[in-house]
């Protein structure tokens, strides 16, 4: 009887203290915001980490890669625009396991993308992918990624060269050869960029890469549409000797069928100088021609 009572009291205490500890930990967590992903790398030397892993460096590389993904996601989610740990984390990951191809592919995208979407460190993205190519020379995806980083930097000669090198790798996708030629001849053209991003959108199985490609394609489509609309504005100016005050003038003149809308369905805008731009520039992070004059991407 007495034993049963003791067991009951102990069981009740167990449940209460478990619930209490969860409650208290949540309170402590609220006081220490962002404490789970501390901006610290306790051991920054990949060589030392490799030794400490006792030969199980593959697992440690997976842990560091997951940490890099989590860190990027966290910073991206918070729109902090600061990615100071991204390069060290990717460097450690790839030094621990030089054959971890996803770390080069996604890492390069994280590093090269312009802020606030990424770290805006294209030089380090190139260094990362070049290291990946040295260790995995037969993986054509890495040449493809390198070409894209150069393409974003508008270094079309190097982008073409990277695609060309990739096209010689056994089992490389045939479009690398086309991309090499297209980039070399028509590097800066929006149509070329559209072709490159369409190839990414159609070939990837990864939802994040697909979203990124879609975002590029939407921006490029807006760029192309703005270019075409500005040509119509120029034609109107030539005909009337002045800029249209709104798209309604162009519709009345029979030069447009209706008020034009961007790929998200929002109406385009027109300024006094005849420049056509999107209403919500934040929805077109990769646009170069469809942004309002003097627009600076905001860090939320």
């Amino acid at each position: 009887m007495r034993r049963r009572r003791t067991i009951r009291i102990a069981a009740a205490l167990l449940i209460l203290s478990c619930a209490g500890s969860v409650f208290l930990l949540r309170l402590v967590d609220r006081l220490r915001e962002n404490a789970t992903l501390e901006e610290t790398i306790y051991i920054s030397s990949p060589r030392l980490l490799k030794h400490l892993s006792l030969g199980y460096e593959g697992l440690l590389a997976d842990v560091y890669w997951t940490r890099a993904v989590q860190y990027f996601g966290e910073q991206h989610h918070n729109d902090s625009g600061e990615y100071k740990l991204l390069w060290p984390l990717l460097n450690i990951t790839t030094q621990l396991d030089p054959h971890l191809v996803p770390a080069y592919e996604f890492g390069a995208a994280f590093l090269a993308s312009r802020p606030p979407l990424g770290a805006g460190l294209p030089e380090q993205a190139i260094e990362l992918v070049e290291y990946g190519i040295r260790n995995n020379p037969d993986d054509w995806h890495l040449y493809y990624d390198l070409g894209f980083v150069y393409y974003d930097l508008k270094d079309y000669a190097k982008a073409s060269d990277a695609f060309e090198r990739g096209s010689h790798v056994p089992n490389a996708h045939p479009f690398l050869r086309i991309m090499a030629a297209q980039t070399a001849q028509h590097g800066g053209e929006t149509r070329t960029a559209q072709m490159l991003w369409t190839s990414v959108y159609e070939t990837t199985h990864d939802p994040q890469i697909r979203d990124n490609a879609k975002s590029h394609l939407v921006s490029l489509t807006a760029d192309l549409q703005c270019e075409e609309l500005e040509q119509i504005v120029a034609a109107y100016r030539q005909r009337t000797g002045r800029n249209p005050s709104s798209f309604a003038d162009l519709v009345r003149a029979g030069m447009l069928r209706g008020i034009p809308v961007d790929p998200t369905g929002t109406q385009y805008r027109l300024d006094d100088d005849g420049h056509v731009f999107v209403s919500q520039p934040a929805d077109f992070p990769y646009s170069e021609k469809a942004l309002p004059s003097g627009y600076v991407p905001r860090r939320r």
């Binding site: 030794h51 593959g58 697992l59 997976d62 890669w65 993904v69 971890l100 996803p102």
Partner: protein, 258 residues
């Protein structure tokens, strides 16, 4: 002779099972299940790699811990409980006792590793939806891990034949760590001169080369292993085990058990 070794081995296996050694399989299953489900959500494109890397690392570390902590007690526990005298009063030679203990614990570790291997393949099947031809190399990696267990068991038994359980654990664990750095020691041989060089050479050959038996990373990337490496690693492990067990038998034969 063989039946006596078999009986001691069977008893050692039974004792390990009775000591709930195989309960580690539950922790292993939870670990792999958690990793298989969680990694896809918190990381990118490394689900298969994590299952192989985490699975095989866990197989190796769980097994080494069991080999050390059960191995160090194989002789000392029998002396402490005075059951050794009962065994040796029968027509059982001391070397048969050592061999039986080794086979018994090795059998436990093989059964444990086999169950874990099934778990690794089940997790692989879960994350990839199908098994690939290159996944067969995982079996070779597990075979090498088993060879590591056998060497560790032999070392634990060797130290246990003349030392206390605590010291045996420390010695065996230190040798496991040193053996994992075998490649670095080899590099040190090339850099050192004079007495240091010769001491390093002795250390390289005396310390078990666990790093040659660790092929987890290449296997995780689907790279194969040459038949020659399998053959020579097997031969090396067997010769090393025979050497260590012989040492244990010599010491145990001379040990005054009164």
């Amino acid at each position: 002779m063989s039946s006596r070794i078999f009986h001691i081995a069977a008893n050692t296996f039974r004792e390990a099972v009775r000591d709930r050694v195989l309960y580690n399989l539950i922790a292993f299953a939870l670990l792999l299940t958690g990793a298989a489900i969680l990694v896809g959500q918190i990381s990118i494109q490394i689900e298969r790699l994590v299952v192989i890397n985490l699975g095989l690392t866990a197989v190796a570390l769980f097994g080494v811990v069991i080999a050390i902590f059960i191995g160090i007690g194989l002789v000392s526990k029998e002396i402490e409980k005075r059951t050794l005298y009962t065994v040796l009063s029968r027509p059982v030679a001391r070397w048969e006792f050592i061999a039986g203990k080794f086979v018994g614990l090795s059998g436990t570790l093989v059964v444990n590793a086999s169950c874990m291997a099934v778990g690794v393949f089940a997790a692989l099947l879960y994350v990839s939806r199908q098994l690939h031809g290159s996944d067969a190399w995982v079996l070779v990696a597990i075979y090498f891990i088993v060879l590591q267990f056998l060497i560790t068991t032999a070392l634990a038994l060797f130290f246990s034949s003349f030392s206390s359980p605590l010291l045996s654990a420390v010695f065996t664990f230190c040798l496991f760590i040193a053996g994992s750095f075998a490649e670095d020691l080899r590099g040190f041989v090339g850099l050192s001169h004079g007495l240091q060089h010769w001491m390093a050479v002795i250390a390289v050959y005396a310390i078990p080369n666990f790093s040659a038996l660790n092929i987890i990373n290449p296997v995780a990337h689907g790279n194969g292993v040459s038949g020659q490496l399998v053959f020579w690693n097997t031969a090396y492990a067997l010769v090393y085990i025979v050497a260590v067990l012989s040492g244990a038998i010599v010491i145990f034969e001379y040990r005054n058990l009164k």
